[in-house]
Subunit: 422 residues, 2 copies
């Protein structure tokens, strides 16, 4: 909680009231086309796409070639545009464009979570210096208004915990494996053919994408800026039908869950892992390409939001909502940054690890093993969060599959003694 | 959709930036005390309760008597107060206070849904004339940010449908009847002892309260201002354990559901009735004192929000969120009022009616009866929505219990012919 000075509201537009705002659209992939289609279908939306910049000339696109230009910089320099919408793939190129646009005092909407997760402190600094306004609701949970709910609605209220299914692609794969009893590969192929997974699925399936979103949520929910690599991300590339069936036999589903949590000492932690989710959790009902977030607030209690997390129309809808918000002068306040808690990773987490490589078990250095089944090649026990962070790439390389099965706890006394004597 | 000119943003405060805003609190019941406690526990919230006006002197209250005064008008006139929070019971007195405060250009937060539902057009007019700013998130669904989500997030997007469980008291009674197999009266007594139902439960149990909330939702979701009496409200006072058991045997729950819907001809309708809800609906998971809203948007698809709908802390939390929003210059835009669709009630709805009074069946003039069981004293069939509206008090007086069992449909040809020949 803080009373730090509010960010400046977005400046008034040069466009007269009642006139549509002119959009400079940078990028024309899934989200850009989704936004374009929505605006086409709503002539009275109050917005019109004035210029479109793309990277590659000559590509087949659903609009005449004359609608496209190749120099995004020209859009940044065009003061007749009321707002810029950046929806390109490349995070570094996106950052250069967005940062430059903010330096020029422009209003910008982006959906690029990887870019935001890496550069948020810098982008907030530019805004605090009065240089432009940046909104990015579409970057997290597609159509769900979770960023503005955290920033503007729960900005004054401490949060105990936030858990969420933030990646529609992996959630679609997990749901289809559960419904069809199929293995990972055919479920992934189906997700790709349905348009719910990228041709290169690693960002989604190895949980890099939901990790970026967890970083953004942490900034608005707690005021804490995390570097993406600080946050544990474990994915589902090693999952098999046996894992799903085992969870189902316990009445549970396996979901990739981002967990942000305030610890008893006031610090916060964040991790993204496959997790057992039972019917008592609202996240149990988040299936297919849907996303969901459970916010546990000190006074409001439990809040649950669920909506479509992927697709051009839902994401385009979120961009349109940001455009409307900019027009009303809305800006994120990052209300909790002045008293942001520190990040904690000196914790232990209970996991289920399935691997045929015994040395991975040694590598993780379990502090407590409660179950070990040689023939099924799995072990259940407590392991230091930092060991998982350190060895996540190795786990992935060797096809191990990890599910978080329990709560976080402080580093155990045994481990501490070991560290001291080491 | 419209591009009507935006409402003016709230004017800047006379209180310097960084200084806490001074609240004039009018009313010190459940919500007022909830807000007070939250602010006490958060000294850095940026808000302080400067003055408190109450109606009755000498009542036992958790603060010293010297903290209270009896003339709310004096708070309206005190320009050192940055914002007024109106949380009294009496709708007419509340309207006089809020309208006068707006005429004086004040910022006001209220939680009084009955007052708002009756006077919203006038209160919007005052704001459009530049006279003050009014927020009321706490009036609908307690802690769920549904009004601002509709107004500011879905303000640019057409909505197909909105359904919601808007009353925590009746939902608590229905949930406990289902869990405990108990009758209505003991479940109601339990709800009252838990603080989830008023001593006079009629407003909640006869669905007057969720009807007020449906009126507010219609204004923000569709831009249509309804008079509360236009909207059908049927409650649960006539329910028995047999009804609950019958629904359960079908895998369903009975919930009081507000349904707002865009019809194929563009008009909208709204009704609040007990309804069969199956596991395929998100509302099936909304139990006890929780509220939930499903928004079906043309582009974003299905959105589901669930949170606590009652209690001093959740509601106080919503008031605090409104205070923070006012401080950031936020105001509702009522973005869809310029092209608001007309209200439609020339529809038929399929219902289950249980009554031992045959003449009620005659009175409702079913256009089609699909099932009639004399010994169990119920009938299932289609009836004109307008007949239900016309005879709702009679149904209530004679202890009839009505459940909506199906979709709305246009008035049947048979009924139209009958009307023409009448």
């Amino acid at each position: 909680m803080s009373t730090n000075a509010a960010l400046p509201l977005a400046s008034a537009s040069s466009t007269p009231a009642g006139q549509p705002w002119r959009i400079g659209l940078i990028g024309f992939g899934c989200v850009g086309q989704g936004l374009y289609t929505i605006l086409e279908q709503q002539p009275a939306s109050g917005f019109t796409v004035a210029r479109i910049a793309v990277k590659t000339a000559g590509k087949v696109r659903p609009l005449p070639a004359g609608r496209f230009e190749l120099d995004a910089g020209a859009l940044l320099a065009d003061d007749s545009l009321d707002v810029l919408v950046e929806v390109i793939d490349d995070p570094e190129a996106a950052f250069q464009l967005v940062a430059e646009a903010l330096r020029r005092g422009r209003r910008v909407v982006t959906a690029n979570k990887a870019m935001l997760a890496c550069h948020l402190p810098e982008l907030v600094r530019l805004q605090r210096e009065g240089r432009g306004t940046l909104l990015y609701e579409a970057a997290v949970c597609g159509s769900i208004p979770v960023i503005r709910t955290l920033d503007a609605y729960f900005g004054g209220e401490p949060l105990r915990q936030l858990t969420g299914i933030l990646n529609g692609s992996s959630n679609y794969v997990l749901t289809r494996m559960g419904e069809a009893g199929s293995e990972y590969s055919p479920a992934l192929t189906e997700a790709q053919s349905q348009g719910f997974a990228e041709t290169d699925p690693a960002l989604d399936m190895a949980a890099f994408d939901p990790r970026s979103k967890a970083v953004l949520l942490a900034a608005h929910a707690y005021g804490t800026f995390l570097r993406p690599e600080q946050v544990l991300n474990l994915g589902i590339e090693g999952i098999t039908a046996v894992d799903i069936a085992f969870a189902a036999s316990q009445g549970q589903k396996i979901k990739v869950v981002a967990g942000l949590q305030r610890l008893p000492d006031g610090r916060v932690t964040a991790l993204v892992t496959p997790q057992l989710v039972g019917p008592e959790s609202p996240l149990y009902t988040v299936d297919h390409e849907f996303n969901g977030v459970v916010i546990e607030a000190d006074f409001a209690g439990e809040q649950f939001l669920r909506g479509r997390g992927a697709g051009g129309h839902p994401t385009g809808s979120a961009v349109l909502a940001d455009l409307a918000a900019l027009r009303q002068g809305f800006a994120y306040q990052y209300p909790k940054t002045a008293e942001a808690p520190a990040y904690a990773s000196d914790l232990e987490v209970e996991i289920y690890l399935r691997t045929d490589e015994d040395r991975l078990i040694d590598l993780l250095d379990f502090s407590e093993i409660s179950e070990e089944a040689d023939e099924d090649e799995y072990v259940v026990g407590y392991v230091a969060l930092e060991n998982l962070i350190r060895h996540r790439d190795t786990l992935r390389t060797y096809g191990a599959f990890v599910v978080r099965t329990g709560r976080l706890r402080p580093i155990s006394v045994a481990t501490l003694l070991e560290e001291v004597s080491a």
